[in-house]
Symmetry: C3
Subunit: 307 residues, 3 copies
């Protein structure tokens, strides 16, 4: 039963509950017109204490495409609620006006606190470097739609695996499905933290290998999840110069990849995927953004209890 619940951590829902959401998303994608009025009379509050146009648009478009409405703010300065008022008081007042809320905050845990005082469902739309659960739902739905299931794949994850919250959440989520194999591609300074290896991968018997070069391993991948490697994460300039091209996906590297491999990216990209790759049929990062809207539609509808 998802009605009235909040989504704070990507692991808040069981596999069965996720399946319920994905299955509704499938239906919405097939028959969007049938959902045009399901949230009529309902209001989503988008409380973005930190700007994120892309995520905000995705939530707002999702609510509007369900027939609901939106109130919100998109940065702390324009928000008197951020001054001298606790998140607890703010959410109790917002609960008076809205039926569901999506909160983005620079402080870890703020959406969690909000959900404790709220009378309406709270969706964590990103809290600092901590969690961004709807990105994880987006990633899972995209794999499920483009590859037919969430099991039995070799999944390459490339970039900054040490600090990337998107990557950590994806690894935790995908580890709950059967028979996936991970290829973790990163510079040595930015490998996956030990606790994820021990508590997630090894505990769930997930097979994984680590690699320093994308080129060496791309041929075995069913899915390639690209993320950015920020220059300032490297310990020294030499390493950066030596390694940076290893983490840029271009057409040449793609020559060795499987024909049906899919390329994902949470976006925005800077230069880690060459623009020429956009034309390749394996490039799925823009449709991934579209699936992000559909999965948010399904999530909102389920938490509101209207579908």
């Amino acid at each position: 039963m998802l009605k009235g619940r909040s989504l704070i951590d990507p692991m808040d829902f069981t596999i069965e509950e996720l399946e319920e959401i994905f299955s509704l998303a499938d239906n919405i994608i097939e028959n969007p017109k049938e959902y045009l009025h399901v949230a009529e009379g309902k209001i989503l509050a988008t409380l973005f204490y930190e700007p994120s146009t892309r995520t905000r648009f995705s939530f707002e478009a999702a609510m509007l495409r369900l027939g609901g409405q939106v109130v919100g703010f998109s940065e702390p300065n324009s928000s008197s609620v951020s001054k001298g008022e606790t998140v607890a008081d703010t959410i109790r007042i917002v609960s008076c006006y809205a039926d569901i809320t999506a909160m983005r905050h620079s402080k870890e845990g703020a959406p969690k606190i909000a959900s404790m005082y709220s009378e309406i469902p709270v969706i964590n739309a990103g809290d600092g470097g901590h969690q961004h659960p709807t990105q994880t739902l987006t990633d899972l739905l995209t794999i499920r739609k483009m590859k037919g299931s969430l099991s039995n794949f070799t999944i390459g994850i490339c970039g900054d695996l040490k600090f990337g919250r998107t990557v950590h959440s994806l690894i935790k989520a995908i580890s709950r499905y059967e028979n996936n194999r991970l290829v973790l591609i990163s510079p040595k300074e930015l490998t996956i933290p030990e606790y994820i290896k021990k508590e997630i991968l090894e505990k769930n018997n997930i097979e994984y290998v680590e690699a320093e070069n994308l080129e060496d391993v791309i041929d075995g991948l069913d899915i390639l999840y690209m993320t950015r490697v920020q220059r300032e994460r490297f310990f020294n300039e030499e390493d950066y110069i030596r390694l940076k091209d290893s983490y840029i996906l271009d057409r040449q590297k793609l020559d060795n990849a499987k024909d049906d491999m899919i390329i994902l990216h949470p976006l925005p990209r800077v230069n880690e995927i060459d623009y020429e790759v956009d034309e390749d049929k394996r490039a799925c990062y823009f449709i991934q953004a579209k699936f992000g809207m559909y999965v948010r539609m399904a999530l909102i509808a389920k938490l509101l209890g209207v579908c």
Copy 2:
């Protein structure tokens, strides 16, 4: 006849007109679904030259829950209309796009000027330290809903009674109803201005007493209206330290209050109501925020002439 009118000053409407609004608000609270489409095809413009998320959300949610739509801005910087254009010209242009407007401005009188040039109703959503009439409507509706009427009560008003515009408007408004008695609780530096005593209270034969300590008078109150006492309002630090706790409502002070007393606050609070009071059934300040949305729904519907 409220259709086409503006609301600039809390005293703009007669008691009968207020009753018309409150009575519609009652109906909306009872049967919100019947009002889901009454403002269909109408647009509210929220012109917030000064940010106030809470008030803006309340107006916008009100309009959306009537089936109307909203355009707006929420701070002066994002608003080219605030640069080099008079309020008169701005409102005439906004009149072209919208059917009703709510304006908040740091300058006293700006909404009044707007209403003079506007072809659509203008609601003052707060002009500097001057007026905030929909807060007064909210306060009156809340008392009426929680206590059954607006007459025959002993009403304590506590905090900064010298500078608080909310308090001044409430006193003027409540003085129009029969047989209310006021208990005005404040530090000596922050007592009610003489002109309110002379021109409002004495002219209307309103019985009142002044007190310096909340504890001394709380047992006789039917309604306790709390507001903030700002540190910088005190003339000296000693007075502040000596008195500040007198103006913080906690569970202990509540022990002496009547069982059916209601506690109101315009929000946001800082520390003048202890969080433990939130659990007390007499705490009505969050439901007051909800009534704020309903009274704005009734007001908008009446000014638009759709109900």
Copy 3:
């Protein structure tokens, strides 16, 4: 066929296509209620990298009055899409959420680039000093509505004719209609650029005269299009002082004008039209703002293909 097209340059559409838009605008003005649901289920994204409340409100009100919905941002700071992401990537992501977009950008050509990568129609809502095509549509619709046609008029255009993009677009547009005569009124420093004389006026056999004083020529005009003359455009202070009053329209100058002359202005005005002129029945600049909303309704409906 306008469905799916973008509008970047005022000259993008043929006279026949413009006529299709104006004719729809006529119908909307006559029967606005018939259009209340035509864009139901559609979303307009307003991407305002540069603030312009008036233009944004006009687009948003237009979309809402068609039954559509809006997502958007109104200044660059609140927009993470403006940081480190190309316009090409931004528009591809926005294409996932919205059905049509209106973009305002301080850089010339940004909306053009967006339209090249977009899967949805892009409307240029102003790019730097370059183009602002919906202002031109507004000007044309207003002349057509108030004067009955777009041909056979003597049109005075007054103010800064050197740098004003609005003026250049209007001259290009009106030159496509038959038998119009232009009176170009400006200080010598701010006369119309040579390329417009050569490539537009002379190539299209448009008769024109240049004048330095509005008073000298106002009696012959059917239409007077006023724009602002900025002090900083003058080469020296003496010229400014000597000439500035020539470019301020007041009641006295109007005494010599035809009874059925119409006065237009793209707004906002500063002081170039005296407030006393607002009461004159020839003043059409506020209704022009209203026509701006209607022409945007027609444009959006046509590009979406819903009318």
